[in-house]
């Protein structure tokens, strides 16, 4: 089932045409990778889905982006509700300078009308368990999140998003600050999480896209060149440009 559908999406930063007629759909409970060289618009596309581009001055977009059939690009969209449903993990782990515990319950505190200590404790335990950090951190919940290793920080950021109970996880190069082993473990985590979430990952690493994703899209200079099953994209691309990119002829 299609969770997110974009129809003729165009986006401009001032005079710069960053996304050109993007039409594609993202399936539920699958990992979709978006690949392409730097500056191709893949991060911009990702940030359309939770409207994080709104902070940029001179932004203009048209077309439609349907999430569960509702267009999120019109002015009436409730951004708080949207971002609750569409969580985002950033390129560099960005835990808040608060304790591990407070990082995870951040979402609960800002969204719930009243907070109950037992609920908070439960949220912390469940979220940390689902990112496999509970055993490591259960005795360090009051330590500052800034003391953690990079991998732990990134897992914590994922836990923080999961705690808000989104349906969609947007991941903007989530492993680019991590070493290969940590990357491998985060990828394992993604495979586990896809049972419950629709995951879209932007990555500059073709190997990562090949390892982790079910579907893949290749972008170049703001255009979606090709979209399909990951196996097909990597073994039998239809477009010459896709083939050139994945075989390393440029990028």
């Amino acid at each position: 089932m299609a969770k997110i559908i974009t129809k003729d999406l165009n986006l401009w930063y001032g005079g710069f045409h960053a996304l050109k007629n993007i039409s594609l759909s993202f399936e539920s409970n699958r990992i979709t990778a978006i690949i392409g060289p730097s500056g191709c618009g893949k991060s911009t596309l990702l940030r359309v889905f939770n409207r994080m581009n709104d902070f940029i001055e001179g932004l203009r977009q048209d077309g439609e982006v349907l999430i569960d059939g509702v267009n999120i690009l019109n002015g009436k969209t409730d951004l708080v509700a949207l971002r609750k449903r569409v969580g985002m993990v950033f390129q560099r782990p960005n835990p808040f300078p608060l304790s591990v515990y407070e990082n995870i319950v951040f979402g609960e505190r800002i969204h719930a009308d009243s907070v109950n200590q037992d609920t908070l404790d439960e949220v912390v335990e469940n979220s940390l368990k689902s990112v496999l950090l509970w055993d490591e951190l259960k005795d360090k919940l009051n330590k500052s999140a800034l003391m953690l290793s990079l991998e732990q920080k990134q897992r914590l950021c994922i836990a923080r998003v999961i705690a808000v109970k989104p349906d969609v996880l947007l991941m903007d190069e989530p492993c680019s600050a991590l070493d290969p082993q940590a990357t491998m473990r985060i990828e394992e985590l993604m495979r586990e999480l896809k049972n419950n979430y629709t995951i879209i990952i932007v990555t500059h690493s073709m190997q990562q896209a090949a390892r982790v994703s079910d579907d893949a899209g290749f972008m170049l200079l703001g255009e979606l060149i090709e979209f399909g099953n990951t196996d097909q994209i990597f073994t039998a691309p239809h477009d010459k440009r896709t083939e050139d990119y994945i075989t390393g002829r440029y990028g």
């Binding site: 939770n50 971002r83 969580g87 560099r92 808040f96 608060l98 951040f106 979402g107 923080r160 998003v161």
Partner: protein, 287 residues
Amino acid sequence: MRKFKEFIVEKLILICGIASIFFVILIFLFLLKEGLAVFKTVSLFKFLLGKNWYPISEPPQLGILPLILGSLLVTLGAAIISIPIGVGCAVYIAEVAPTQTKEILKAGIELLAAIPSVVLGFIGMVTLVPLVKNVFHLPTGLTALSGSIMLAFMAMPTIVSIAEDALYSVPKSYKEGAFALGATRWQTIHRVMLPAASSGILAAVMLGVGRGIGETMAVMMITGNAAVIPHSILAPVRTLTATIAAEMGEAVVGSEHYFALFAIGIVLFVISFAVNVTADLFLHKRQ
């Protein structure tokens, strides 16, 4: 020849660098030499906690407690007024205001910092003092409150500009993270930005308040200068700084009065130094 030039330039710069420290030490030594002499006639305890300041009676009574309390009261009042407004203004400039408003506000704050304190004191004397007198039905408007309000104007530019810097230096990724979780602008500010910038904001407050303690001219003009222990913020007070400024001219060089004024200088120096060191600690903690 080139080597010789290098040598000369290097030594010249060295001298410039050492000069400032050298002069600070000289000033401090002079202050100590003149100030400590007063403790030959009055004990440190009696000097700091004595309730009467009658420097020219016979024998002179040199208790500076009323002056210390005067300074603290005026500064505390100024802090209570200027901290919420200053921090609020910094948050508005750094996080909320559109670019154009931001520029206008920043220029306004800089202008406020540029007003000489004697001018502020003069304006306070003809506008604020009668106002305080009428609003509170007092015999005189020359009160600690008037001084606090004027001093708040002087502390505000420091607080705003340093607190604003602290907010700017919070990594952008914190803000993005909070927004991406669905936080509103206000939630992001008070749950993420303010805690993340807290040490810088504390430093801003300390430096602003520090400026208040050392301020002389405006408070001398509008606080009434009564060297008695104040019982309310609506009473006239006299600050440490105003005492030195007002009495140094008539104190006989070498008299106990003269030494006592220098000792007040030492007290002021110690207070300012402590405030600045604390502020510095907070600033370094941030980095």
